[in-house]
């Protein structure tokens, strides 16, 4: 069963810029799913449409078995989001912010406070908990956003570059947490540019390019996929697959060089 089903999703921005063109995507329930693509491929557009903050021009979306329309918001009760812009009220402390988000999900106050304390401890934000979020580094803001995304124990996590700017120790802890959540039945849908991390962490990956779906596979099968029919050579890494599939439409593959270096 799929947790997210996207059919024929289309988004054209002003001046005719194509954000998404007939995108199809199925995200299996209970998987840690990597959503990849080069800059401007449409990853953030897809995530923002799933979050209901960008209007789609066409297409159907089903999340957790429910068809989602642009105006719907009840479906978000079971989803946690981390978007490109991670936090929204920066003149709050992390505690105030998490309590505010907890109240948005109608969490019981005592439970919200308990989870807030645990989250602050888990994300190592205790030292700065009395500072306003606006004083935090980009990585710390990302941690606050992640904490806000899981405070209500979501069934689906949609994350846009969740580990960007986060130090290696915390990143390891977050990756372990995501794996634990998936083991307990949560689905995680994350975009990233870090292909090594995605290959090690995710169960399945999809690649989009120029707003279109181009590749999907279980990560364990990537190294079994044949790269060259004639020699029966297989791919050695996700990076190799990525470079191959995003440059298949006639783009130059040779290494570019700068004239002055």
């Amino acid at each position: 069963m799929n947790c997210i089903e996207i059919k024929s999703l289309r988004k054209i921005y002003k001046k005719g810029i194509v954000g998404l063109e007939d995108l199809f995507l199925n995200v299996p329930k209970g998987s840690l799913f990597g959503f990849l693509g080069p800059n401007g491929a449409g990853k953030s557009t897809t995530i923002n449409i799933l979050a209901g903050i960008i209007r789609r021009d066409a297409g159907d979306i089903s999340i957790l078995g429910t068809t989602v329309h642009d105006e719907d918001y009840e479906y978000k009760r079971w989803i946690g989001f981390v978007l490109e812009q991670p936090t929204y009220f920066e003149k709050l402390t992390v505690k105030e912010y998490l309590e505010f988000v907890g109240s948005m999900y109608d969490l019981d106050i005592s439970e919200t406070k308990k989870r807030t304390d645990e989250l602050i401890d888990f994300f190592a934000l205790a030292e700065e908990q009395n500072e306003w979020i606006e004083k935090y580094s980009a990585g710390m803001k990302k941690k606050v956003a992640l904490a806000a995304a899981i405070i209500h124990q979501p069934k689906l996590l949609i994350l846009d570059e969740p580990l960007e700017g986060i130090d290696p120790v915390s990143a390891k802890q977050i990756k372990d947490m995501l794996r634990d959540m998936v083991n307990k039945g949560t689905t995680v849908f994350m975009s990233s540019h870090n292909l090594d991390t995605v290959e090690k962490l995710c169960d399945e990956v999809a690649i989009i390019n120029k707003g279109k779906f181009v590749f999907q596979s279980k990560t364990e099968d990537i190294r079994k996929k044949v790269k060259d029919e004639a020699s029966q050579e297989t791919y050695q890494s996700l990076e190799e697959v990525f470079i191959d599939v995003v440059s298949q439409d006639g783009e130059e593959k040779e290494k570019k060089k700068l004239s002055w270096l």
Binding site: I53, E74, F89, L92, S103, I109
Partner: protein, 223 residues
């Protein structure tokens, strides 16, 4: 209606409004206006209760902030629609926080005016009656202007919005002045305040939340 969750929401909105709009920073303007009333002798010349003039000063000074009651920065606009917010509860908490902050400011400035302009007890109670009767009407205007014209668009038309604000205050004051013409009875005034408060809760809060949802993509401005 009043439970721990709602109180927490109101507290957070008081903090947010206080930190983002910084109403305390405008207090010197209110004090200066009261002093101007005193030293220009305007409070002798104006044939109304000077306490009401003090409340009008508050509406003029803070109204400009509260015309952007909901929105403000782009990030906040995204927040309203990213989370499964019950926009009715949200509107209620935001409006109630506005009421509390305004009440603090009016209380401080009426106290100052009592010292500077020698207000009588009747003038003070009348000023508060005027505040409550007018505030609920103004809230409706502020909710509307905040959603229809966010700060980004209104800042370029400051003069137009200042004029609109004066009209809003005049419009919202009409029930009070009609009430004063009919009777000065405390019971009638209190009843009117209850009716206005109830109509704000029954009509304005749901209408505002529906308007927020309907104009979601225009507000986010990214569609």
């Amino acid at each position: 209606m009043i439970n721990q969750e709602n109180l927490l929401r109101v507290c957070i909105h008081v903090r947010l409004l206080n930190r983002y709009t910084k109403p305390a920073s405008l207090m010197p303007l209110v004090v200066l206006s009261i002093l101007a009333l005193k030293f220009t002798g305007a409070y002798y010349a104006i044939p109304v209760n000077p306490g009401i003039s003090v409340v009008v000063i508050n509406f003029l000074v803070y109204g400009f902030l509260f015309e952007d009651l909901f929105l403000g920065e782009t990030n906040m606009k995204i927040f309203y629609f990213l989370y499964p917010i019950d926009l009715k509860k949200f509107t209620f908490a935001r409006n109630f926080a506005g009421l509390l902050l305004m009440l603090v400011s009016v209380s401080v400035s009426v106290s100052l005016a009592t010292i500077i302009l020698h207000l009588t007890l009747e003038q003070i109670s009348d000023a508060f009656l005027y505040f409550f009767v007018t505030f609920f009407g103004l809230l409706h205007f502020w909710n509307f202007t905040s959603i229809m014209f966010s700060r980004n668009s209104s800042s370029s038309k400051v003069f137009l919005f200042s004029a609109l604000e004066i009209l809003e205050i005049l419009g919202a004051s009409i029930p009070y002045f009609i009430m004063k013409l009919l009777s000065t009875g405390f019971f009638l005034c209190s009843s009117v305040i209850v009716v206005l408060g109830a109509s704000w809760y029954v009509f304005s809060v749901p209408q505002t939340s529906r308007m927020l949802l309907r104009r979601k993509f225009d507000i986010i401005g990214r569609a």
